[in-house]
């Protein structure tokens, strides 16, 4: 006897159902969903900040322009930065830069994606300006006393991003490979960029 199987709808089926009904009612088209997801996945996020850093590491003239006027410089890479001023601060062997927003949670969202919850926490916002070394130590970043730590307070008009130091042992890497090393935490200044572990 042939048993016709009744498969219970899965959560995927329900999601597809919702999508098809919303499209039929003229509320949200599937194209709008595709475009939104494309934007979320490729046009925003730490990937953009990482690209900027990798390009600055490999092109000294671009780096100079970036440090002089970041909003204009990132436009050269096709990154649109309307609305507020972007400033990039460079970490060096003698100065380590860290970014925060003491008043709320201003963040260079366009380059780094959505701010992490710890960045928005009252603890980070208040403590990083008072005891930056202590806060960095909690992120497992221990800086010797000889290194100066500078904290930059973002506002709604002006957002900061860190240009981290390029790690040693990366001379052979191309821009894409360099960009892959740069984490969101390094762009905020609570981590350093690490060279890839040597394989073979």
């Amino acid at each position: 006897m042939h048993q016709h199987e009744q498969h219970q709808p899965t959560v995927e089926d329900r999601t597809r159902a919702l999508e098809s009904l919303l499209a039929e009612r003229g509320l949200i088209s599937s194209t709008a969903i595709d475009e939104f997801l494309h934007w979320v996945e490729s046009d925003i996020g730490p990937l953009l900040g990482a690209r900027v850093v990798a390009h600055a590491w490999t092109d000294p003239d671009f780096k100079a322009r970036l440090l002089h006027d970041a909003s204009e410089a990132v436009a050269e890479l096709g990154i649109d930065y309307p609305g507020h001023r972007l400033v990039v601060v460079e970490s060096t062997p003698v100065v380590h830069q860290v970014v925060c927003c003491t008043l709320c949670s201003c963040y260079p969202w366009r380059l780094l994606g959505l701010p992490p919850t710890w960045y928005k926490s009252a603890a980070y916002r208040s403590r990083v300006v008072i005891d930056p070394r202590g806060v960095l130590a909690e992120f497992d970043l221990h800086l010797p006393d000889e290194i100066e730590v500078r904290v930059w307070d973002s506002t709604s008009e002006c957002r900061y991003m860190v240009l981290p130091e390029r790690p040693a042992g990366t001379e052979h890497l191309n821009e894409d490979e360099l960009a892959a090393l740069v984490t969101r935490d390094a762009l905020v200044g609570v981590a350093r960029v690490l060279a890839p572990t040597v394989v073979e």
Binding site: H7, E12, D13, T15, S20, L21, E41, G45, L47, S121
Partner: protein, 111 residues
Amino acid sequence: MPEQSIDEVALEALEGALGEALAPPRRNGELVFDAPWQSRAFAMATLLQQQGHVRWNEFAARMSAGEDVDFYHRWLAALTDLLSADGVLSATEIEVRAADLAAEDNHGHTH
């Protein structure tokens, strides 16, 4: 990029409304979806919020009250509840359509 339909303000408002406990899963600042349906559910909620059919504070309340352990299962349920409460779509319509889609898949099943 969508014609100004989504922007920084909407996504930050979402995270503000949801708070730390209910923040969408992320890794290194990027949203993490374990399966495409999750990303589509996320997109639908955000686009509907832009249109005013979803209010983030009400969405957050439903997320908070949701019982499913899985974040995006709760997300879909919260979205369905809100749309149903607003009279946009009913939970029944969604179930019926979902059953149709499930049945269609089975007829074409070639695994």
